[in-house]
């Protein structure tokens, strides 16, 4: 399709045919406010914030869905429009719980920001009946507060379309419409996988993770406890956004420094246990190939994906790798190997993880995740919570020095750090498995075919005379495509990596909120993933099996990858769940 010429606010603008007025305006440097619009996910024209005047049109049109046309004349900021948008906001506010001072999203709330920008001076201009809802605190990982919901439906669109889960949606109609689950079931009783993508999509404070930062502070204050922390690879790729750094800034050093100043006894790194995961998973893969085990082998690092598989594909659980996730492997090794080494009782160790993920809060409570006789991981907080914690304890993040991680669980390779991007686990596993299979050193460690932010990637590698067919999917709607193929026996993959969140953990549901204005027009996943790939490229050690600390764990404690002891400590089991 070609281009069309139109005028926006008197400016001549050229835009591709089929694009929306919003897109054309954005490209021309004109901002039109939006609230319900999420590109390709929620294009419903419902909130009416983005209305514009089109010459000849009877009414205002929603620019987020209205296509451009040749000769169209658009106004985006006449007094009438600014007034309309303010009135729409005032209507929203008339049925909104306006406790902004104590709201978790204060300062990062899109509704609040628009009220400021459009000059709402009386939040009670339209007074009237309001709806009241009880908080839904039934889920382990998050809270739903419908009193702050503005019914933009971004959350339910993400849940249904991006994740193919669809456990929340609009119920009732008219003024009584609310977002909820069937029969007002609590989210915790549904087959919600805990991914937190709804939180990431929410413009207001209606959805937020259950906060565990006070638990962290209490553990640190308890002198009888040895508190260790492990930040996931993706945290360093996004934490900076909370402190004013541009998206795509690697703040690994400052993050380590901050964690130390918060008062953790040891600042370790989940990258270490990512390397450990590769050792076990690559071994499991080779074992299944050699011994005609169930193929394809599917990764199990992503707790949202694991829970999805348990609910929606309980008949396919054999495909899941029995490896615990890096978070859990870290906890397990901390409370066994590290505890013995340091001569601390496992129950006196508090293992805290910082994750880009809300599903990790569920994962730490799973069964068969207690290698040392106590839960592997005690507290899991999100990247957002870490930022709040840093602010709460009064650390000036930007002025921190760059620091490193502690030994022995802080050392990692480039293979571990790329876990946070879709395809990263696959690439890391291939680096180890290929060398193992061929017995030769790889000339080039980059497996670029599995990189990139597309939802589904496939590749075939000829390794030691065997064609290894791999697939990588992120976002559960893509996982569903792969799983349906596998269930129908139409897939001949050997190894499949699945990440619950689109783009992988860098875009996890626990990462810093990204304003829809950014999300709609920038490739957030790619920008954050680049941090991890750059971090990897800068490392001298880029293969998990070359990690000296890992070698030491095996030689001193576990023996071989896949050994009985390794199995006991680093592997787990799954349960069949139903769809609700």
């Amino acid at each position: 399709m070609g281009n069309v010429n139109l005028k926006i606010n008197g400016l001549n603008v050229t835009a591709p045919a089929g694009s929306t007025i919003l897109e054309a305006a954005q490209a021309a440097g004109i901002k039109i406010p939006t609230l319900c619009y999420l590109k390709e996910i929620n294009e419903i024209g419902a909130c009416r914030m983005c209305v514009v005047e089109v010459k000849g049109a009877r009414n205002l049109v929603a620019s987020c869905v209205h296509p451009v046309a040749e000769g169209m004349e658009v106004q985006t900021n006449t007094p009438k429009l600014l007034d309309s948008r303010r009135r729409t906001l005032e209507l929203l506010l008339s049925n909104h719980d306006k406790k902004c001072l104590s709201c978790v999203r204060s300062g990062q709330c899109e509704l609040q920001e628009l009220c400021q920008e459009l000059g709402v001076t009386d939040e009670n201009y339209f007074e009237g009946e309001t709806t009241h809802y009880e908080l839904d605190e039934s889920a382990v990982h998050m809270v739903r507060d419908n009193n702050k919901c503005i019914l933009c439906r971004r959350c339910s669109a993400v849940c249904e379309k991006v994740q193919s889960v669809g456990v929340i949606g609009p119920n009732n109609r008219g003024f009584a419409t609310f977002i909820g689950s069937p029969f007002e079931m609590g989210l915790g009783d549904t087959s919600c996988v805990g991914c937190g993508q709804c939180i990431a999509a929410c413009p207001t404070g209606a959805l937020y993770e259950k906060s565990n930062i006070d638990d962290v502070l209490a553990a640190i204050a308890d002198e009888t406890k040895h508190v260790v922390v492990q930040p996931a690879p993706s945290v360093r790729a996004a934490l900076g956004e909370e402190f004013g750094y541009p998206m795509g800034t690697d703040v690994e050093g400052k993050m380590a420094a901050a964690l130390r100043r918060i008062g953790f006894d040891k600042v370790f790194d989940t990258n270490f246990s990512a390397d450990l995961t590769i050792m076990e998973e690559a071994h499991e893969f080779l074992d299944r190939v050699k011994n005609k085990g169930v193929l394809p082998l599917m990764t199990s690092c992503s707790p949202g994906w694991v829970k999805y598989c348990e609910h929606y594909y309980p008949d396919q659980l054999d495909h899941l790798s029995s490896c615990k996730s890096p978070q859990q492997m870290f906890g397990a090794i901390t409370k066994t190997y590290y505890a013995e080494k340091m001569n601390i009782a496992p129950e006196d160790i508090v293992c805290v993880s910082v994750m880009p993920c809300t599903a990790k809060k569920f994962e730490i409570q799973r069964e068969d995740q207690d290698a040392g006789g106590v839960p592997d991981v005690d507290i899991s907080i999100t990247t957002r919570e870490l930022a709040r914690l840093i602010r709460k304890v009064g650390i000036n993040f930007r002025s921190l020095p760059d620091e490193g991680f502690d030994d022995p669980l802080g050392e990692s390779t480039g293979a571990g750090v790329i876990f946070g991007a879709t395809g990263g686990v696959m690439e890391a596993a291939l680096r180890t498995a290929v060398e193992e299979l061929t017995g030769e050193t790889l000339e080039k460690v980059e497996f670029t075919e599995v990189r990139g932010t597309e939802g589904i990637k496939e590749a075939v590698y000829n390794v030691a005379g065997m064609d290894v067919k791999v697939a990588v999917a992120s976002g559960l709607s893509n996982a569903k495509i792969i799983m349906d193929k596998i269930r129908a026996k139409e897939a001949d993959y050997h190894f499949v990596e699945i990440m619950c969140c689109p783009g992988g953990c860098v875009n996890g549901g626990g990462q810093p909120q990204v304003h829809a204005d950014v999300r709609n027009f920038e490739d957030v996943k790619a920008i954050r993933a680049k941090v991890l790939y750059d971090n990897d490229a800068a490392k001298t050690l880029r293969k998990s099996h070359e990690n000296p600390s890992i070698k030491r764990v095996y030689s001193e404690y576990l023996g071989e990858p896949g050994s009985e002891k390794a199995h006991h400590i680093l592997h787990t089991t799954y349960v069949k769940r139903t769809v609700n």
Partner: protein, 639 residues
């Protein structure tokens, strides 16, 4: 499967049957050389046809029992071979139901009771003596009985969309064919190209009868111009305006006309599948449609290779489930797709991306009912009726404070005064006409000053109302216009889908302000806020429901602002409707002290001793009116 020739044979045969029911049937029969009625599908010939209305109105007033009793009496009198009973659709005069017409005489019995049947059968059907005292009084003149079409209710009407309603048995396809039914489909499939059909519609000037009045031919042209592997033809039978029931009557009385038109539409735009979205609250219409579709399939008038033309078309019924918003075209399609019936933004328009994302046209029942006749009689015939920009006729559901409630079909351009005063018989009880409401919750009120405006799409818009689907509610001096606006807003609030902000929250806020006004609690600032909301919803709402929701408020404000101000400033309801603003009082000159009122009062608000004048304590009074109703001396009044 029937060929076109076979269709013509049926038509010839059946024409003789159904022509008995024309108003001048007697003359036709007398003139005809072969003075005999035709044979129907079962080979029977009847000298007399008794038509009993089987529409929803008459059914609820007991027409099924009438029919049964009639058949029984006919049999008992040995008339079964000579007289047949025909269950028809709606005649229009629902207030007079159950309705019965005897042909070929054309005598019109109204409000027929079961007890009346033996007399009608023995006197009229057996002996040929019309039972005058049971006839519709208007048809009985001093010297003669006049035919129905000379009565005030019918004489200004011109029935196009309703032409078969009350004439044929809608459950017999042969009767429809006998009136020339499916002839238009035959012509189209064998003689016309799709673009010819669209041109005929364009030339006819037919505009959508469902509300906004978009030119039907243009809609079809857009859909025809978009290539796709599948296209759809939809029929909007989700008639939801309170007070409008013409679509129901057409479906109940002449379902095949709609099926035929949809098939024509399918041919014109290149669609092979049709959907009729009909309210589940219309069980009779649903049943008749099911029968009609079945019969049309049997005759091969729906299905594969219709009339051996290579054209395939079939129709499926989908039932609504109680959501007014599904009358909006995109919401209707969303609902057929199996979703919450929420509208989606346009563009893309349905002609490009409609049902299941395929090019789709949607027309309402009345629009379709016009189409076969436009094809048969030609676009010039249709365009000769009506005004410059609104051609043809329009059906109105006449209701409210008016004598003749029912369905009327009038040429566009008829004045409101003709409808109200002549056809409708004026406002009863000597009350004064105050306003007429058209367009339901999307429309507005037309005050007496505009009574002489010729009704068409554009004129109604210019005076702040709209055609809508054709509800026409007459209001007299006892109607409070603020209360009316509130009534419609309550409806909209109940029916708002909740998707877009202005409608979801704005309608609720508007209603709250109207409630404040009717309670005497509002200020002039509230009125400003109300108007502000009206304009906000008009220009900002996602779909027509929200965009037009303010119309009842805006039009009453336009013509009756003083009533709003009386509520707000003087705390009075001039029409004496709004309870909170009126007081019940006892006229001491009339009160006899019988104590009945005091005993009736649910709030113990009336004090007074036996045989002494009573008083109402305004603090306690609930304004329920029970006392006024009970008082035998007319001593209680409100002000």
């Amino acid at each position: 499967m029937k060929s076109l020739e076979q269709l013509h044979e049926i038509c010839e045969r059946m024409r003789k049957v159904v022509q008995l029911r024309e108003e001048n049937a007697k003359e036709i029969l007398e003139k005809a050389a072969m003075c005999e009625s035709g044979k129907d599908a079962d080979g029977n010939t009847y000298r007399t046809h008794v038509l009993v209305c089987g529409g929803t109105g008459c059914t609820s007033s007991g027409s099924a029992r009438i029919r049964e009793r009639l058949e029984k009496e006919i049999e008992a009198n040995g008339l079964s071979d000579e007289v047949c009973v025909v269950k028809t659709g709606c005649f229009g005069l629902c207030a007079l139901g159950p309705i019965m017409i005897v042909y070929p005489e054309g005598t019109f019995y109204s409000m027929v009771q079961e007890e009346d049947i033996p007399e009608i059968v023995t006197e009229h059907l057996l002996k040929g003596n019309v039972v005058k005292h049971l006839l519709y009084e208007e048809t009985v003149k001093a010297d003669k009985i006049i035919p129905l079409n000379e009565t005030n209710f019918y004489k200004k009407q011109h029935r196009v969309a309703l032409r078969n309603c009350g004439v044929i048995n809608p459950e017999k396809i042969d009767e429809y064919i006998g009136t020339g039914g499916y002839e238009a489909l035959g012509i189209v499939l064998t003689e016309k190209k799709p673009e010819d059909v669209i041109q005929i519609l364009l030339d006819s000037g037919l505009r959508g009868r469902g509300g906004a009045g978009f030119p039907t031919g243009l809609k079809w042209k857009f859909a025809a111009g978009n290539d796709a592997d599948q296209k759809y033809v939809c029929c909007n039978a989700d008639e939801g305006d309170p007070g409008a029931f013409m679509d129901r009557s057409i479906l109940e009385g002449d379902p095949h006309a709609v099926l035929e038109a949809m098939a024509i539409a399918g041919y014109a735009i290149g669609a092979s599948q049709g959907y009729i979205y009909v309210r589940a609250e219309y069980p009779i219409a649903v049943q008749r449609l099911e029968i009609a579709i079945e019969q049309a399939r049997e005759y091969g008038l729906l299905g594969k290779n219709i009339f051996d033309s290579g054209f395939d078309f079939d129709i499926e019924l989908r039932l609504g489930a109680g959501a007014f918003v599904c009358g909006e075209e995109t919401a209707l399609m969303t609902s057929i797709e199996g979703n919450r019936g929420e509208p989606r933004p346009r563009p893309p328009f349905p002609a490009l991306k409609g049902l299941f994302q395929k090019p789709t046209i949607l027309n309402n029942v009345e629009t379709y009912a016009n189409i076969p006749q436009i094809i048969v009689n030609g676009p010039e015939w249709f365009a000769s009726m009506g005004t410059e920009k609104s051609k043809g006729t329009k059906v109105f559901a006449l209701g409210g404070k008016i004598h003749n409630t029912g369905l009327v079909e009038i040429p566009m351009g008829t004045t409101l005064r003709e409808i109200v005063e002549e056809i409708g018989g004026g406002v009863p009880n000597g009350k004064k006409f105050k306003a007429a409401q058209t367009g339901g919750p999307s429309g507005g009120c037309i005050p007496a000053e505009h009574l002489d405006i010729p009704i068409d799409y554009d004129n109604l818009l210019s005076i702040g109302s709209m055609m809508g689907s054709g509800g026409l509610i007459v209001m007299d001096e006892d109607t409070c216009m603020v209360d009316i606006a509130k009534f419609f807003l309550e409806f909209t609030v109940d029916e708002s889908c909740g998707k877009c902000t202005p409608c979801r929250i704005g309608t609720r806020r508007m209603l709250e302000i109207l409630e404040k006004i009717t309670k005497g609690q509002a200020t002039m600032e509230d009125l400003d806020k109300l108007e502000e909301l009206c304009y906000h919803l008009q220009s900002n709402s996602l779909c027509a429901l929200g965009q037009t929701a303010p119309n009842p408020v805006l039009s009453t404000l336009r013509y009756f602002r003083d009533e709003y101000i009386a509520h707000i400033v003087d705390k009075k309801c001039p029409a004496g409707v709004c309870k909170d603003l009126l007081q019940y009082k006892i006229d001491p000159d009339k009160c006899k002290g019988c104590t009945l009122c005091a005993r009736t009062c649910p709030a113990d608000a009336i004090i007074g001793k036996v045989k002494e004048v009573h008083m109402i304590n305004p603090e306690k009074c609930l304004k329920c009116g029970a006392c006024m109703e009970k008082c035998r001396f007319g001593a209680i009044y409100k002000e």
